[in-house]
Symmetry: C2
């Protein structure tokens, strides 16, 4: 099925990201669902949507597993069947992929995919512990590893192997904060300078506070249909033309490289081949900048630049809003925020806005093809999707 | 696709269920995977299996989410992509369904589905709390509801509405312990009498200790392929010919009935219609007897008997090993054990053994068509599959 649409996006919704005191995960999901429904008046949700596939990382934040039926209920979809998929921070990226499978199976014409996470009511200690569950228990968590620590190891290795600098990493934060300041749904809507990033307190050397993404509340959703029926619902469908899923060993200690993520390279290869496109064809991308170093590694493993040249790529300005390949126009996980289970579909939401010309002050002119890259844990999972304007 | 095979089971594996001190979830899954591989020498797992879809309920037992890549690793499948699906105790039932979707999508020829849960290293208090997360947090958990309590409400309503008796519920336990005593992989391999069940200590009135399923460790898996290629791998494939998924409100307080589960009826209807069969065609079934009352309700909502007649159905002897429609020949959750995430695929495993004549002392002669029914939580989720001997 090279180059052929796998599914069409006919609508999407996103809650405001941030510290949403007093709102639970189910309420945030209802907020996202409502936007998607209002955006698509030709669709009768309860009649037309066949199933819900929802990404959520952790039962611990809200002491709630079995959240899929709750989300179906709060989106007004009951008794439509619902399932949760989980691969850490790539949970809703996987929801997109399994939503596509559900449509390609022929059993459903239309499904809703989404994700949510309610995090900010917990202490930083609790959130750090819950997130750490996405790393290996016996050999990483047990020895005190946390995610800032694991990504700091990658950053150190990248600096050692390729000469990547803290200033280059800071430029990623500066770019994403600039974009986030243009996004009314972003958690942090303010610019930062290289000096502010470099001067922020050290979290796990060489990563400082402004190298880290945010603990946020939020939810996201999208409505996918068979491409053949998309125009029943919208004049501006976006087609998903490539889907890739890469899996690697969970522990850093099991991997051949600390400076490149095999899961990204595999997911990208699968998605590019399916789409019959290459990195040179991408006009706009949302990548998983859970830490600034992760965005630099993503540039390289997605083929936006050569291995080791991610630092130079951000220095060149190419991934800025006015550059050749704008990356994280939404503000990314860094500024838009990172309610982990919501992130994969939130990336899709931004690309959907861009390819339908609804990205307002962040709009990339004339973009036709977009890409999302959603990472789970320290890279044991990666999901890549490629999109084309309808 | 009425009556046509959706997928073929070419192999399956099950770890010993029980208190598996010193074994982690990943080791139990490797044990199950090894049996499936040994049973199917024509299959090269690393080459032929395209993806792993794994059911697991709770990150809390082993302080580990993002378990899918770990299971892919421990089954020797890396770098094949892996995803976890979660709908409480129906997690691996859902893994079967999404495994079928993955095959029907045309993207994979062969996938592994499975499930696992490691529970017995936790205290009963901890296990009860983690399991309770599958009920509604704000209105059930918060008010002290636990699963024995929720099913006790259903049992009380059933007794009130239909005159169902504690003796009838006890007969379900007696039957399943009888079958479990014939199953070398069962957690409890010993018979119980009606008197023992009635005399066991009250957990949540009217449910007593022997009305409750077990907290167990265990793992399960199966290898599914496109039906067209099944005979490359085995001379005795089993075809999955129906799949149903029902979802209902999570809280008992939101439902119209306490004596019937809408999710079972919807899942059964979808599966029967897909298989072009009815309850009268089923020769052997594994149903979700998390509590004895749940098996009685399952008889009714699956159409094995009329509403309200589940008590009489077990009294008639119909679901015993020598009856007209043997149910839970494995011993069920009650005696085989209930490592929650493993249960859905463990039910498939028993039906696979039965339909291929490998069930040894539990063999049901001449069975051609089997059914599995896997419940999540107090019934917000139900997954039903129907199988036919190849």
């Amino acid at each position: 099925m090279r180059g052929k649409p796998l599914a069409a996006i006919v609508s999407a919704g996103l809650s405001k990201f941030g510290r949403r005191d007093g709102f639970s995960g189910r309420e945030l999901f209802a907020e996202a669902a409502l936007e998607a429904f209002e955006r698509c008046p030709n669709l009768d949700p309860k009649k037309d949507i066949g199933a819900l596939i929802i990404g959520n990382m952790s039962e611990s934040f809200e002491h709630q597993c079995h959240s899929a039926p709750i989300m179906s209920d709060w989106a007004g979809l009951l008794p439509k069947p619902a399932v949760r998929v989980e691969v850490a921070c790539a949970s809703s990226g996987a929801a997109i992929r399994y939503g596509i499978f559900a449509i390609l199976s022929g059993l459903y014409d239309t499904v809703m995919v989404g994700g949510f996470e309610k995090m900010t009511h917990r202490t930083t200690f609790e959130a750090t512990e819950y997130l750490a569950m996405a790393s290996d228990f016996p050999l990483e968590q047990w020895n005190g590893a946390t995610f800032p620590g694991l990504f700091a190891l990658m950053a150190t290795a990248h600096m050692h192997e390729y000469g990547t600098t803290e200033e280059q990493m800071a430029l990623v934060a500066v770019k994403n904060h600039h974009n986030g300041a243009l996004n009314p749904k972003a958690h942090l809507q303010r610019e930062v300078t290289v000096e502010q990033v470099l001067g922020s307190r050290v979290i796990a050397k060489p990563l400082k506070l402004f190298d880290c993404s945010l603990i946020s509340d939020g939810a996201s959703c999208a409505i996918l249909t068979r491409p053949e029926i998309a125009r029943k619902y919208t004049d501006t469908p976006v087609y998903i033309i490539g889907s890739g899923h890469g899996t690697d060993a969970i522990g850093l200690y099991e991997r051949d490289s600390l400076t490149s993520l095999e899961s990204i390279r595999r997911a990208a290869k699968e998605a590019y081949e399916m789409a019959a496109l290459g990195p040179e064809d991408i006009d706009v991308a949302e990548v998983h900048d859970c830490f600034t170093i992760a965005e630099i590694i993503a540039y390289e493993d997605l083929g936006f630049c050569k291995p080791g040249e991610g630092g130079k790529f951000i220095e060149s300005g190419a991934p800025t809003l006015d550059g050749d390949l704008p990356v994280n126009t939404s503000g990314g996980l860094k500024a838009k925020g990172h309610p982990v289970g919501a992130t994969g579909v939130a990336q899709l939401y931004e690309i959907y806005l861009q390819l339908t010309g609804q990205a307002d002050r962040r709009q990339v002119d004339g973009c036709e093809v977009g890409l999302t890259q959603n990472l789970g844990g320290s890279g044991a999972t990666c999901i890549v999707h490629i999109y084309r304007r309808g």
